[in-house]
């Protein structure tokens, strides 16, 4: 029975991982941006499932709300507004940059591997699904909220300013130019 539970976790992980990688490959491979966006949606949902598997339920919910809900709708709206079909279609890839892409990817992957190797030499702490703050056990959402508003209050406020700036910037850039203004 215990082995079954373990295998169940592995099966779920590999299924979600395969979906995520397939979606990511689709983003690069599909010519039609709408298909690429749907591929990306599949990746987002699979990664949300992986977050649940990692006992980060709050982040999984936020991932679905913000990415699958907000960002994806934004992408589809822009694809619709731009109406890619009416634009002249050219070659999909910048072919002469393909070797550059491979080199950059390999170097970055190597860097991340070095980081992972260094991290695993550090001692591992306890693995906890339910976390405790000041000796009091609580759920994931409560604990993340506690940490966010107590330990990371300043970054939280700074991020809200970033969001405000992004909003203003998007409005200014998306606005139609008025006649007679340069």
């Amino acid at each position: 029975m215990d082995a079954l539970v373990t295998y169940f976790g592995a099966i779920v992980f590999y299924t979600l991982a395969a979906l995520a990688v397939a979606g990511a490959a689709g983003v690069i491979g599909y010519r039609n941006p709408v298909h690429a966006a749907m591929s990306l949606l599949m990746t987002f949902l699979a990664v949300a499932g992986l977050f649940v598997l990692l006992h980060a339920e709050l982040i999984a919910a936020v991932q679905i709300l913000v990415y699958a809900g907000g960002v994806m709708v934004l992408f589809l709206f822009v694809i619709m507004l731009v109406n890619v079909r009416t634009l002249p279609t050219e070659e999909k890839y910048v072919r002469r940059l393909l070797p550059v892409a491979v080199v950059i990817s390999v170097v970055l992957v190597a860097l991340v591997l070095v980081g992972v190797w260094a991290a695993f030499r550090a001692p591992a702490g306890p693995v906890a699904a339910l976390v405790s703050v000041e000796g009091q056990a609580m759920g994931n959402t409560e604990a993340v909220g506690w940490s966010l508003y107590r330990d990371y209050l300043l970054p939280f406020e700074v991020v809200s300013v970033v969001l405000l700036v992004a909003m203003i910037g998007a409005i200014v850039m998306g606005r139609k130019e008025k006649e007679g203004r340069t």
């Binding site: 990692l54 702490g125 939280f156 850039m173």
Partner: protein
């Protein structure tokens, strides 16, 4: 048994695909999607290490990254709208006015 390493390898694959997309694709919209892929890979790393180390900071930073990703998407798509108005294209190699 699924260990943290499994998650890190998956994150690496997503990250590599994202970087490849940013470099080789010509469509601006798809490049933005690839950037979202990269940020998602970073998130997966944060959450995996948060679990590995039993520390919640990783999840808090994942929240920050999601916020930044949303801001980046809004700005990037605003740029696309402005670009289409100006040049009627979303192909990145056609946008070379400032190229010396």
């Amino acid at each position: 048994m699924i260990t943290t390493t499994h998650y890190l390898v998956l994150s690496l694959i997503l990250f590599g695909l994202g970087v490849t997309g940013v470099v080789v694709r010509r469509n601006f919209i798809t490049v933005l999607m690839s950037i979202e892929l990269i940020l998602n890979a970073a998130n997966l790393n944060f959450i995996a290490f948060s679990r590995h180390l039993g520390d919640l900071s990783g999840q808090v930073f994942a929240v920050f990254i999601i916020t930044i990703a949303a801001a980046e998407a809004a700005i990037g798509l605003g740029i696309i709208i402005a670009l289409v108005r100006l040049k009627q294209t979303v192909q990145l190699d056609q946008v070379n006015v400032m190229q010396g």
